[in-house]
Symmetry: C2
Subunit: 339 residues, 2 copies
């Protein structure tokens, strides 16, 4: 049997097709009695509005697109866990607001910037993924030019294109290092690439440096080692630091994965955590509380992040003005930094 259309409902309810449309969409100009008959008929035939037809007619898809960008790592199973936990929240918020969510993993090189809103698959897009702002910039320009609605998760800085939502990375770095200083640590290393290529890391580094400055110290290049956000990179960076012979009694890692890798390296080198070296990470991944010792870290709130991203985007879609948002972070003290 063919799937029912609004005409079938109309016939069954003894009204016309437009009335069915109006009744189902809650239009006020249809009487309560009629509305009831229509609902019953729709129920009987198990009728559902055809999204495609509806979208075509209304010129809107009631769908958002979520574009993930790959970390540079070629291993495609290792999605940044923090993003994954944000995903749940984004999905849920979309559902609450009556929107569907389309997901896509993208290579940085793809021509994603035209594919979604242009083909009317989505009313707006959410961009997720660490990345160099300058690399994105031309794409963002094109998006703006096209009038595409989008929000970006990342590090919001003045003068940047589009609307950006992100955690307060600098504050997180500040809190983490203040915490280590309060524990009496004085030689605090920073593990993570502090360059514009990884804007979040750079901000965390700035917080680190600011905390040191508060204590009358300066960030020493010898106490910093590059690492992208993987366990292996963290392991390697810590090894480098150990090999260089620079003394240190604490590590602030730019992400939990780095911190976990660093703890492994410290363990292998016989440096006890936290006694010999205190460690603080960033993100509060599920794995952070499972490590041994449990990892002290700066918690980002993925649930709130998702909500803010979606709601900001919906505001943009409604054509209202909205600014960047910086979300608070919170230090979670655990065993890896106990005195």
């Amino acid at each position: 049997m063919r799937r029912p259309t609004s005409f079938d409902i109309a016939a069954l309810a003894g009204v016309s097709q437009p009335t069915v449309s109006r009744a189902l969409s809650g239009n006020a100009s249809v009487s309560e009695a009629t509305r009831l008959r229509v609902f019953e008929a729709a129920e009987t035939l198990n009728y559902k509005v055809d999204k495609n037809a509806s979208n075509l007619r209304r010129q809107a898809s009631k769908t958002l697109a979520l574009l993930f960008f790959e970390d540079p790592t070629p291993d495609d199973s290792s999605i940044n866990p923090f993003y994954l936990s944000m995903l749940g929240s984004i999905t849920r918020t979309c559902a609450l607001r009556g929107y569907d969510l389309l997901i896509s993993f993208q290579q940085l090189s793809g021509n994603w910037h035209v594919d979604y809103e242009d083909s009317r698959k989505a009313d707006g897009i959410i961009l997720l993924g660490y990345g160099d702002y300058l690399l994105y910039r031309p794409r963002l320009e094109q998006l703006l030019e096209q009038g595409t609605h989008f929000v970006r998760w990342g590090s919001a800085q003045a003068g940047q294109l589009g609307t950006t939502i992100g955690s307060d990375n600098a504050q997180g770095g500040l809190d983490a290092v203040r915490h280590l200083l309060a524990q009496g640590r004085r030689r605090i290393a920073f593990l993570g690439t502090a360059s514009a290529q990884y804007p979040e890391f750079l901000e965390r580094y700035r917080g680190y440096a600011a905390a040191l400055a508060e204590a009358g110290m300066a960030a020493e290049p010898a106490l910093q080692a590059d690492a992208i956000s993987t366990e292996e990179a963290g392991h390697h960076a810590a090894e480098q630091l150990l090999a260089a012979g620079t003394g240190f009694d604490a590590v602030f890692a730019a992400s939990d994965l780095i911190a976990i890798g660093a703890m492994r390296a410290l363990g292998e080198a016989g440096r006890l955590v936290p006694r010999a070296v205190a460690v603080v990470g960033f993100d509060d991944l599920p794995a952070a509380s499972l490590s041994s010792p449990p990892l002290t870290t700066v918690m980002q709130d993925p649930r709130r992040a998702g909500e803010v991203l979606v709601d900001t985007l919906l505001t943009l879609i409604r054509g209202e003005a909205v600014g960047n948002a910086i979300l608070p972070v919170r230090l979670v003290a655990r065993g890896s930094s106990a005195s």
Copy 2:
């Protein structure tokens, strides 16, 4: 400026609208020269096919829907990590096959079974989430009745409705326990709820029992403790077992999260892993290799799982017959079970 339609392209290329459609869709009955002109015109105007119109006309959405079902846990940030890693693979496979992916988190109670294909938002759906087959059954019946195309991730058993893809859980249990036996362990506990409510766990339990039987032993109820797949549940279950005073020198946990929780409980009780108690988990979460000692576990292959799910569903959508699939698993021996 209004976004261009195929008529605009037609005008620019000096052909008719249908020709534009044919040229862009690779229809053979359009000459190479014309096709080229059309492509150029489309490029110039930055034209993209309107998905909604196209879908409406073709009565297909070129989209799949992924439905996640919540674990019973109310905490909505804790999505089963194994599913999350499958997500990447599903998305990628969809993209490769030219399909979009719609994602939705569902309450088990919702009436999801009519919402997706019925409203033509998707050509088929993928059902993901641990769960009791009997609980699903009525919904699956309705899906079949409606002619909805769907595949389920779970434990494939004879006589079940629909098409199911799943790991070889029984084999995994067998391998895990054989491994422990080979290490000389004799008192092997099973941590996880072995009931029809968690079919995967039940199969893993069966593998556990079969391995014991091979060695001339029987599964003892005293060596089993219920746990759902969370770290807390694993911790609690191990505590129970310890409190009961039943001696054991190994644990086979039905999931890595349970295993990690159990290791924490064992540590708190002063039972050294692996010396006093060897531990094997299931899933091979990223966290498994990060625990200390690193967790021996049964690896499920999320990448392959996603591919098989998508390809099976696409086969169904094409109207071809396809059966259930059971994917191989692989034991990964790490420190937690060294002799």
